[in-house]
Symmetry: C2
Subunit: 380 residues, 2 copies
């Protein structure tokens, strides 16, 4: 840290913060379009691995190395957003640790009073105010202590060797930024006719994949610094089965429809056509093997579990309303960031009408895949 | 934690949170009336003890007890609010710890890479969103890691034995709630004709003092749980020299004027007279010896330093604008909580006019007193 930075004013310093990481938080507040009220798809995913998470921790957590702080567990949820999902996740982990502790007590190994230091992480643009106001009372029962950590999880967020259990769900497919080349009309990877990585154009897919590997690599490396030896990292998310193209999944179809609506709006003169051509979602559904490659390349973790978990809504045909609300809550921030705040209502009205006219044939779509990964930090 | 609570929904749980602690955050955002732009009086206080804080830490911090985590310092600012004040405080502490570490290195005692885990604490109603968005970039330089802790500091906020340096400034005179009796027309302590503790009516003063001792007692006990043995707690604040009555200080005069304005507004029919009679500021300037009594009663800390520090603005006569802005930013939330949001502009317009008509004779007022306390957690 240079003296110069130390001595300049805090406002100036804040402005110097590099904008390497793009931010597109879920919609804050608790209004009808908020993430808080439109995250039941994510909630179902989390519910579906509740028992698996519990069993995994009981079977794999093994912190018997000398630890002066064995009675304090530090737990972090990375990319927590707001609402009940992150609270349920943390609660499940705490209950499991208590159970494990009771089992140890029975064996006579430990009889200390447990305390849990819980860290809710998301970018500074996340609505921490509402997260904090909705923290349940039991976060004040003098055994669970909650904090918010406002920073991109692509950086190290905690002192080295200090977190016992990390968790993240439905976060890693969000890239830290759009790959530059796909927005650049002079690049071979210019993704002119689509707003996402359909996996059809090789150069586009390559640019997205490169960015994904860089981002997930940074995530894994940061967690490797933070976790204690033997500490566990639980990762839940969506990917594509090896060989499946995004365009063949129903989510890919939805992104294409939203892209078409944007282009229609450009043709009607509501937004600029060049703006649409340069717009791309910072979102990449990796292939299953790409996930494994990144973890193995890092080398600091052993892969204890890495498997497909059926999403409870996998075989459902969703109502138009559900689809519109879910995608609106998810990509609202990105659309607003690129096109300004005036287009959201119009865009999603058009999308709803299009869905109604051209319903998605869910049975005809290929499936994406929900994965569950349990990593254990190797001893240094 | 009962099963019942665990199994009920998070929203319901949040609603169960007892309302024991009243909340009146400083004005959030960065508008013209915000705390962010109207805290230069507090800033001056903090500036005035910068060097003293540095010297105190260098002289008194002595964490040579075996500590597997000696390379991680955990620092907490209690009641941080928002803006540059809390950032400056923490930065000063970090720089001092680095300096101390360098001195130890020279002696060959320590050569580990330091990391700082920093906790910004305030009530959940504090504007953490703006605090987080204004965190300087150096909080991401992989040696300083920042968190927000959304809870009243009258509770234990951290695992036992985990904080190395705690700090609070200008917070302890804010009570967790108004003493009930002073708002109760059937009580001997009913404070009908004033909105604060003038120290004139014995019963009123007794009720305020009782609440203060309870609150500060809870604060000291919670910190005693959290601090490591040898850990330091720095407390900066305002009190009254023993024997001085609040009504004789210029701040007491201001509170009386604001009370008069409220009563004028009641007489004009703008607000309800009963509402004014039942309104009291949850604010108590303790006598110097009362502070000492609470610390000694707790018994977990040795008082390393406890002294008066001249406030740099102590001898100033303030402009009307400065006074109005400072008090508006400070008590806006309380006024709004009691009278609703419609009265603020009118009240402070009237107060400004009153100040102009009846200027405060600063030379005629008795002085309050700024204190600096350094506590060291005794070995358990």
């Amino acid at each position: 840290m240079s003296r110069e930075i130390l001595e300049s004013g805090w406002e100036e310093m804040a402005n110097r913060k590099p904008t390497l990481i793009q931010s597109y938080p879920m919609i804050g507040g608790d209004g009808p379009h908020s993430y808080l009220r439109n995250s039941s798809y994510q909630k179902a995913a989390i519910e579906s691995v509740r028992v698996k998470t519990r069993e995994a921790i009981l079977a794999k957590l093994d912190l018997e190395t000398p630890n002066s702080e064995l009675s304090i567990y530090r737990i972090a949820d990375f990319g927590c957003s707001i609402g009940s999902n992150t609270l349920d996740i943390v609660q499940n982990i705490i209950e499991t640790l208590k159970l494990k502790h009771q089992q140890e007590e029975t064996k006579g190994n430990n009889n200390e009073h447990l305390e849990f230091h819980v860290f809710f992480n998301d970018k500074p643009e996340n609505d921490f105010n509402i997260l904090f106001k909705t923290l349940p009372w039991y976060y004040l029962d003098s055994e669970v202590f909650a904090c918010g950590v406002p920073c991109s999880f692509h950086y190290q967020l905690f002192p080295r060797n200090s977190i016992h259990i990390g968790h993240t769900s439905n976060t890693l497919l969000w890239l830290s930024r759009c790959p530059e080349d796909v927005c650049n009309r002079n690049s071979q990877a210019w993704n002119r006719n689509s707003i996402h990585c359909t996996n059809f154009i090789v150069e586009v897919a390559r640019a997205y994949k490169k960015q994904f590997k860089k981002d997930m690599g940074a995530f894994v490396e940061a967690r490797a610094q933070e976790l204690v030896p033997g500490g566990l990292m639980i990762v839940l998310g969506l990917c594509l089965p090896d060989g499946v193209k995004m365009i063949r999944t129903w989510k890919g179809v939805v992104f294409d429809m939203i892209g078409d609506c944007l282009m229609d709006m450009a043709k009607s003169g509501i937004i600029n056509e060049g703006k649409v051509e340069s717009f791309n979602l910072p979102l990449y559904f990796p292939q299953f093997r790409e996930l494994m490659e990144v973890i193995e390349q890092n080398g600091c973790f052993s892969i204890e579990i890495m498997e497909e978990v059926k999403h409870p809504m996998e075989d459902m045909s969703f109502s138009d309303d559900f689809i519109v609300s879910m995608f609106r809550a998810g990509i609202h921030g990105i659309i607003e960031g690129h096109f300004g705040s005036g287009v959201i209502d119009e865009l999603f009205d058009r999308f709803a009408k299009k869905l109604n006219k051209e319903p998605i044939d869910f049975k005809d779509c290929q499936k994406d895949m929900q994965y569950f990964i349990l990593l254990k930090r190797k001893v240094r």
